[in-house]
């Protein structure tokens, strides 16, 4: 008989314990709440899937989910192309390159609630540079009153905060392209656009995938900045999923629905990331399949 070494279990035990305490147990607490109605610390009732059903029918939640999806798509649509463009226009070598890298990275180093505060002041029409400038230009801008203005301000703030991440990732990807590709392209008479389309963009596929996933997940979970900037208003124009969830769990102390919704939220992110990842994996290799069918 083949000898079995049970020591392996012992060796993975620390990791199992770590993951259990950091991820599995907290998640299970949420699962626990999601199937019970907690009336007081002593009294609780098992309600099955009732909270899930209630949450799924919640109109406010539908609104928040739609706003969230719209916001995340807008973030990707602006930050990814802008990040690529920034990376392409950054100097590749010398002290200028280092200087630009530092400048570009600055916004990434600012704590999130500070970002919210910066933009809250920046956008004020009485003392804020941007708000006052817009007001002087005769543009009726008021992020605390107008839903469109608030939504746009949150979007611009996120672009300002996170486009550098995309740019830095793309810059690293561009640096990794061997010189021979550019030389060959010059010999082959490729235009600047052809170099971008056939060399740079395909070679950036890996880092772009990381950038899209990171930006998607982060923007889908955005909380601090809009909370500080607009508090979710005016009305609920900038109430995204996280904030809605916090209102439910902490504000109204509806632990059951909040837990049920947390799980749904988690599954939505997991599902969307799974779809995005698989789609991006196939983008570059799809024509192979087409060829073999044709």
């Amino acid at each position: 008989m083949k000898p079995v070494n049970q020591k392996a279990w012992l060796l993975v035990l620390p990791v199992v314990l770590c993951v259990a305490f950091s991820a599995v147990l907290p998640l299970m607490t949420v699962v626990n709440y999601s199937v019970q109605d907690i009336i007081s610390p002593e009294r609780r009732v098992f309600v099955g899937t009732e909270w899930f059903a209630a949450v799924m029918r919640d109109e406010e939640l539908h609104g928040a989910l739609l706003r969230q999806i719209g916001f995340s798509l807008a973030v990707l649509a602006v930050e990814i192309p802008l990040g690529i463009a920034l990376a392409l226009s950054m100097p590749a070598t010398g002290w200028r390159s280092s200087a630009v890298l530092v400048i570009v990275a600055i916004s990434l180093l600012i704590p999130w609630n500070v970002v919210g505060t910066i933009w809250q002041i920046y956008g004020r029409t009485d003392i804020g540079l941007m708000g006052a400038a817009l007001a002087k230009l005769g543009i009726d801008y008021n992020y605390t009153g107008s839903a469109t203005d608030a939504w746009l301000t949150v979007l611009v703030m996120d672009v300002w905060h996170w486009t550098p991440l995309v740019a830095l990732l793309c810059f690293a990807g561009l640096q990794a392209i061997p010189d021979a590709y550019y030389q060959a392209a010059r010999i082959d008479g490729a235009s600047k656009f052809a170099v971008f389309r056939f060399i740079q963009l395909p070679k950036l596929r890996g880092v772009l995938m990381i950038a899209v996933l990171l930006r998607f997940m982060d923007s889908f979970m955005i909380y601090t900045e809009p909370f500080v900037l607009t508090g979710g208003g005016p009305g609920n124009a900038t109430t995204f999923l996280s904030q809605y969830l916090t209102q439910k769990a902490v504000g109204q102390f509806d632990l059951g629905p909040a837990a049920a919704f947390s799980l749904i939220y988690f599954l939505i992110i997991l599902l969307l990331c799974f779809i995005l990842y698989n789609w991006m994996q196939r983008v570059g290799t799809a024509s192979d399949a087409e060829v073999s069918h044709g």
Binding site: Q183, A184, S191, F198, S287, D288, V291
Partner: protein, 359 residues
């Protein structure tokens, strides 16, 4: 197709002072229209720099490059209409093999019918017809390099095709095939080809004329025969041939003196004023002879190797090491014996202190 004249020097750093600052020392060279040339030399000798200067990827810091007498120094590779194949395969990942081959033509607005025809011909030649619709990124390294070669050859009207060690990543047996193919292409299309390599066999079999380079200097331009028989520089004697040329210290003191011994025999008259110099003789031309024969030098045999088709005898004449190649039928001397080796003959060369051929 064009004749290429070079009269230039290149340094990657500004204000070059010493010879070491130059990637390419001042040189003047002409590549004949329709000729097949090889640039041969060890790594770092400047051959790739020279190639990139011809193609226009690098602008020389001094001097000019002209094609058919027209100054091209500041022109781009596209304006020079040059094709170049690099050491490592460069393919466009998202394209099929056919699209890769068509890329240089498409960028120049060639008619689609003509492109299809040309891509077909090139694929046929490289034996890739069956893979035309496959994505290039999934292929093996040698197939990718064949695509790179194909892109270099797909345009018919190029001034020259430049190869920068293109067969490095390719299997030995396929290497041989591709080299023959390149020769055949050269024969059919009469293109000017310049081929960079550090492999002497590759250079000598491919090229009509070989430029031997070392440390940024082109030390000799010549046919395989000339490089073997009359190396213009000790580096050429040393680098070409396997093993390379033997060099023995020599001087003139009322007659030829080699490795500290007077050597009887015919010596070129030019040597009488040369002072100290070197005698160079290829192992192929060293003979085993008798003590009283002209040009015989005594040497202690230190090693005898059977290298299959010949014997390689290593011996020491004074301090100098001497190698001799003897035919398979010859009776090799025994290790430890003193053999009399004939080093003077029509193939013997003499070099001055600057390592240049004097006689």
């Amino acid at each position: 197709m064009a004749r290429i004249d070079l009269d230039l020097a290149h340094a990657y750093r500004p204000n070059p002072q010493r010879d070491e600052d130059y990637a390419l020392l001042p040189l003047k060279m002409t590549f004949r229209d329709g000729g097949a040339y090889a640039l041969l030399g060890p790594s770092g000798c400047g051959k790739t720099t020279l190639l990139n200067i011809i193609s226009g990827l690098v602008t020389p810091s001094q001097g000019t490059v002209s094609f058919d007498g027209v100054d091209m120094t500041s022109k781009t590779p596209q304006q020079r209409n040059i094709a170049q194949v690099f050491q490592f395969p460069v393919i466009y990942d998202t394209m099929t093999v056919a699209e890769n081959l068509a890329f240089p033509l498409r960028n120049r607005g060639v008619a689609p019918d003509r492109i299809r025809q040309r891509v077909g011909q090139i694929a046929e030649m490289l034996e890739m017809s069956g893979q035309l619709d496959r994505r290039a990124s999934g292929l093996a390294a040698d197939a990718k390099q064949k695509i790179s070669l194909g892109r270099g050859l797909v345009r018919e009207d190029v001034s020259a095709v430049l190869f920068d060690e293109p067969l490095t990543v390719i299997d030995p047996h396929l290497k041989w095939q591709l080299r023959r193919k390149l020769k055949q292409i050269h024969h059919e299309l009469k293109l000017t080809l310049v081929y960079v390599t550090h492999d002497q066999v590759e250079a000598l079999t491919f090229a009509e004329e070989v430029v031997v380079m070392t440390r940024g200097r082109a030390v000799q331009v010549g046919s395989a025969d000339a490089l073997f028989e009359r190396p213009a520089h000790t580096f050429v004697g040393h680098f070409i041939g396997s093993p390379g040329m033997n060099f023995l210290p020599a001087r003139w003191a009322n007659g030829l003196e080699v490795a500290g011994r007077p050597l009887a025999g015919p010596a070129p008259s030019a040597l009488s004023s040369a002072g100290e110099f070197k005698l160079g003789v290829r192992p192929e031309y060293v003979t085993i002879t008798t003590p009283d024969a002209p040009g015989a030098l005594p040497a202690v045999v230190s090693m005898v190797q059977d290298v299959g088709t010949y014997w390689l005898v290593t011996a020491k004449a004074g301090e100098a090491v001497l190698r001799a190649r003897l035919g398979p039928d010859a009776e090799p001397p025994k290790v430890g014996d003193t053999a009399w080796l004939g080093v003077l003959g029509t193939h013997t060369c003499f070099y001055n202190r600057n390592e240049e051929l004097i006689a």
